[in-house]
């Protein structure tokens, strides 16, 4: 965002979500096609304090959409009811997606922020056998 002076912005520390008006069809416009304003956190990373991150393993995912429903930051990216990944610019690393994942082994697991995704996927835990 440009470093505007005190006289160059709208009053009230009020931020507009979109550039220009939206109409009633906006709800059906895919996120990527919406006219988000530069003030909208859609285009900003608000995840730089995340300490642990979810890693998605599509081999086990059953596309139940539980993670998509429960994610408090709308950070699960789902297209045509298929989970395709996690929006790492908005995910805060809360771990709720992992908690609600019903598969065995889980299709999402939390790892330290610095962990290498390929390595973790290669070492994914095996199915937890019921005793």
């Amino acid at each position: 965002m440009a470093n505007k002076g005190w006289d160059e912005f709208e009053i009230g520390a009020m931020l507009r979500s979109f550039d220009g008006k939206i109409d009633e069809c906006s709800a059906f416009t895919p996120q990527r096609d919406r006219n988000y304003s530069q003030n909208n956190s859609h285009v900003a990373s608000v995840a730089d304090w995340r300490l642990i991150k979810p890693v998605f393993n599509k081999d086990y995912c059953i596309d139940c959409q539980f993670c998509w429903i429960y994610c408090p930051d709308v950070s699960i990216i789902s297209r045509d009811k298929k989970l395709i990944g996690v929006d790492m610019d908005h995910c805060k690393g809360c771990g709720i997606c992992v908690e609600v994942c019903p598969t065995n082994p889980k299709s999402l697991l939390m790892f330290p922020e610095q962990a290498d995704e390929e390595t973790e996927l290669a070492n994914w835990p095996a199915k937890d056998e019921e005793k």
Partner: protein
């Protein structure tokens, strides 16, 4: 849903609380969120009764605290409605955090404060401690000296506060009990005239505008906070005062009642003057008249607009006065009184030779007696004659025990 209009006599016998409640009814407030506290309760209670009797169609939200009351007002104002509430003293103290939110978010809200002392010791009577508590909160502040003015200033407060060049919340102060519970004749406006003066609410950046979604109540850190506060202060300093003058002028055209940011009584040829607020103004005017009969050129200045402080106006009024007393009705807590400081500030670095002394009086509803003011005017005249302040700069009046004087 349609609501009924109320037939009013030209002059009604109202106390300050009822006058304020009637003004909120006539302004057709959309949302009033409130929590009761003495002595302001009858304002919101009165509004609630108007609602029950179908004289208003707004929402009355009963909340669990004054903090919640102002929070509700903030939400409703951000949503895009005309909003008001009332409180006093401890309730205001609990509300203060949200006052700063309202002004920073540039939301027009009208808050009636029925001035009352702050505990401890617990006290329900009038002084200006609560008024002073929110002096830096970024709210416009008016002061009513009588029920008539409590009625009139509410309309002016809505008009100024809701102006799109202003968009700052406004407080209307009145003295606890002496104004709020003392019935006097109040000249009324017809419902239509009163509403037309305030005008239809014009939303700005409202959350109910679904075509233009906005986020209110954002966070800014060291990168943006200063710029927003600077803008807020700039608008308070440059945009509010002309709008107040405009509203005062329009109001005079409608009602014949003329208000000024600084009210002057017998000031044209005065040698000595008292500056005060609230009901003390009337007492001081009466005493000034009596002092004039004794040959002392006494005048009185009543501060109608507390924020933005009318530096230029008060400086102009006082610059040629020989001796002036600033009367502060609040425990100063280790400093000179607020009025003393503001008046001193308005004439510092000028050629004025005005002698200024500060008086602390009337805490917790202690009466300001005419005899106090007689002594005070004589003290001012002695200062004027001597060409210097003969007493210490801060004195307490009306308190029992050994004389208290400082500075």
């Amino acid at each position: 849903m349609a609501f009924d209009k109320m037939e009013l006599r030209d002059i009604e016998v109202w106390d300050g609380n009822h006058a304020a409640a009637q003004a909120l009814r006539q302004a057709q407030v959309d949302v009033l969120a409130a929590y009761p506290i003495t002595p302001s309760t009858p304002i919101v209670e009165g509004y609630a009764k108007f609602k029950s009797d179908n004289y208003v169609e707004g929402e009355f939200v009963m909340v669990e605290s004054e903090h919640a009351a102002m929070s509700g007002c903030i939400g409703a104002a951000a949503a895009g409605g005309r909003v008001a509430t009332a409180t006093s003293s401890q309730g205001l103290a609990l509300m203060v955090e949200t006052l700063y939110q309202a002004s920073g978010m540039r939301l027009p809200i009208v808050l009636n404060i029925v001035n009352r002392a702050l505990a401890a010791p617990l006290n329900v009577n009038g002084d200006h401690s609560d008024m002073y508590l929110c002096r830096d909160s970024g709210w416009i502040q008016f002061d009513a000296f009588s029920p008539q003015e409590a009625y009139d200033l509410n309309f002016i407060a809505f008009k100024v506060s809701e102006d799109h060049d202003v968009r700052l919340p406004a407080i209307v102060n009145q003295d606890g009990f002496i104004t709020s519970h003392t019935a006097q004749g109040v000249h009324t406006m017809a419902d239509d005239d009163a509403y037309n003066f305030v005008g239809e609410y014009k939303p700005m950046n409202d959350m109910l505008d679904f075509e233009n979604p906005v986020t209110h109540g954002v966070q800014t850190e060291e990168d943006w906070h200063f710029e927003h506060k600077a803008r807020q202060h700039n608008d308070m300093m440059t945009k509010v005062s002309p709008k107040i003058e405009e509203a005062f002028s329009d109001f005079e055209k409608l009602t014949g009642r003329k208000y000024n940011q600084v009210e002057c009584y017998d000031m044209d040829d005065a040698d000595v003057a008292v500056v005060c607020m609230g009901t003390s103004v009337e007492t001081a005017r009466e005493v000034a008249g009596e002092m004039r009969a004794k040959g002392l050129k006494a005048g009185v200045v009543g501060l109608r607009v507390v924020r933005p402080f009318p530096f230029a106006e008060i400086g102009n009024v006082l610059k040629d006065i020989k001796a002036v007393a600033a009367l502060d009705r609040s425990a100063p807590g280790g400093a000179a009184g607020v009025l003393f400081n503001e008046i001193a500030g308005s004439l510092f670095n000028t050629d004025s030779k005005m002698l200024l002394s500060g008086y602390i009086y009337g805490l917790g509803g202690r009466d300001l007696l005419k005899s106090h003011l007689v002594d005070l005017f004589n003290e001012l005249q002695a200062n004027a004659d001597a060409g210097k302040v003969l007493t210490q700069q801060q004195q307490f009046i009306g308190v029992r025990g050994p004389k208290l004087a400082y500075l």
